[in-house]
């Protein structure tokens, strides 16, 4: 048996993995076409990646009813801001480095859409008024100038059974947000107090 080794070159990588099919190589486009716009219109959940000033990478989930993102033109996607944890990690990152990567997920749909580009944070009242949910107007909007877009294959979704509720794990065994925040922040509140605070935040600060 061979010993453990670290892969440090594309050649070493390709010794272990066959080249991609032509259709996988050619599928990247540099704009939002009509098909991608339809996918985006049906998307209620995305994950945004951005880069911190120190070079480290962040990921953040965003969710809203389908149609929450607007395609303004073939190069521009608008994403409304909703209340989160107010750490504003993604926003702070975008101010120092505009590069973002986004994956769009549609529950029940196995293909995903990946896009990337440069983002700007804008305060634009007229656009914000087209993005009202439950009476709440987003205070800020992320505008992404798209330079790469590709449709992603279904294997990861199928292997994880992510859209197959019969296969979902028993949530009771998973540590809760309240428990992790209390432990990781070494907080003095009791776990019951933490769960009440988390529940209150969910009920009152969703928009």
């Amino acid at each position: 048996m061979t010993k453990a080794s670290t892969i440090q070159s594309v050649d070493a990588l390709r010794e272990r993995v066959r080249p991609p099919a032509r259709m996988s190589v050619d599928k990247v486009i540099d704009h939002i076409d009509d098909l991608a716009a339809e996918f985006i219109a049906a998307t209620p959940f995305i994950i945004i990646s951005s880069v911190r000033a120190d070079g480290q990478v962040d990921l953040s989930p965003r969710g809203d009813p389908p149609g929450f993102m607007k395609v303004l033109d073939r190069k521009t996607l608008a994403i409304p801001d909703r209340p989160g944890n107010r750490r504003a990690d993604t926003f702070t990152n975008i101010i120092s480095n505009p590069e973002v990567g986004i994956i769009c997920m549609i529950p029940g749909h196995e293909d995903t859409l990946r896009l990337a580009g440069r983002a700007q944070l804008v305060d634009e009242h007229a656009l914000a008024e087209t993005m009202v949910v439950a009476g709440h107007t987003p205070p800020l909007i992320i505008k992404v100038t798209v330079n790469r877009l590709l449709s992603h294959c279904a294997k990861a979704m199928v292997r994880s059974h992510i859209w197959d509720p019969e296969h979902w794990p028993d949530g009771a065994k998973v540590p809760s947000h309240g428990k992790m925040v209390k432990t990781h922040g070494a907080l003095s509140q009791t776990l019951d107090e933490m769960e009440t605070l988390v529940l209150d935040d969910k009920l009152n600060n969703l928009y």
Binding site: I7, R16, S24, A88, V158, M180
Partner: protein
């Protein structure tokens, strides 16, 4: 009112409440036993990595829950499974090891965010502990964890991601086959591409 671009942190924080003490302090620099339990129940992650040109990629990975192994409080092992063989994430790691990982557990509104530096290894002993359906991963990502935090559930709740009764009708959503054909300007018919994809899924799943 005209558009204002927010380009300083002072502008960003103006009029916004500061994050709570709880949100500001929830990050740790290792995998503790609670996070390890979360990871053990996770069947789906997305990995973000940075291209040599500075652009960002986000890639999905999925497997039965427990597919990732916590080797020690600073090290997470993620097996490689066949994908599209573009190797975007792998190639990115050769020039820049920084990654971020989001762990998602279907039906659970909390998510776990991990940041650190990754390298790809070929390690037969470790790979032998990560066999699924008789398939041993040929490569493993080893992530040295620098940052870990539990993320609030609001995005999951607003999207209804774990509420099947709220899921949209996806009959009209463009399929991978349609998009690959259009975006790659391929001559093959959609039927042929769909057949190729179905074959890829049935023979290259592990």
């Amino acid at each position: 009112m005209a558009e204002t671009v927010i380009d300083t942190e002072a502008q960003l924080r103006e009029g916004q409440r500061a994050p709570s003490h709880r949100a500001a302090n929830k990050e740790i620099d290792h995998i503790d036993p609670l996070a390890e339990r979360f990871i053990a129940a996770t069947p789906f992650i997305t990995i973000a990595s940075q291209r040599e040109d500075g652009g960002l990629d986000v890639s999905p990975r999925g497997d039965p829950a427990g597919f990732m192994k916590v080797l020690d409080p600073k090290t997470l092992a993620i097996p490689d499974r066949p994908g599209n063989r573009r190797m975007d994430t792998h190639v990115n790691l050769l020039s820049n090891p920084e990654v971020a990982i989001m762990c998602m557990i279907p039906g659970n509104n909390d998510v776990l965010r991990i940041g650190g530096r990754a390298r790809m290894v070929s390690d037969p002993d470790l790979a032998a502990s990560m066999v699924v359906n008789g398939h041993t991963p040929s490569l493993i990502l080893l992530v040295t964890v620098d940052r870990l935090m539990c993320h609030c559930p609001k995005a999951m709740m607003r999207s209804g991601i774990w509420e099947p009764e709220k899921w949209p009708d996806t009959a009209d959503v463009p399929t991978l086959g349609e998009m690959v054909k259009a975006h790659g300007a391929l001559a093959d018919s959609i039927e042929q591409i769909d057949r190729d994809l179905a074959k890829d899924y049935s023979t290259n799943f592990y």
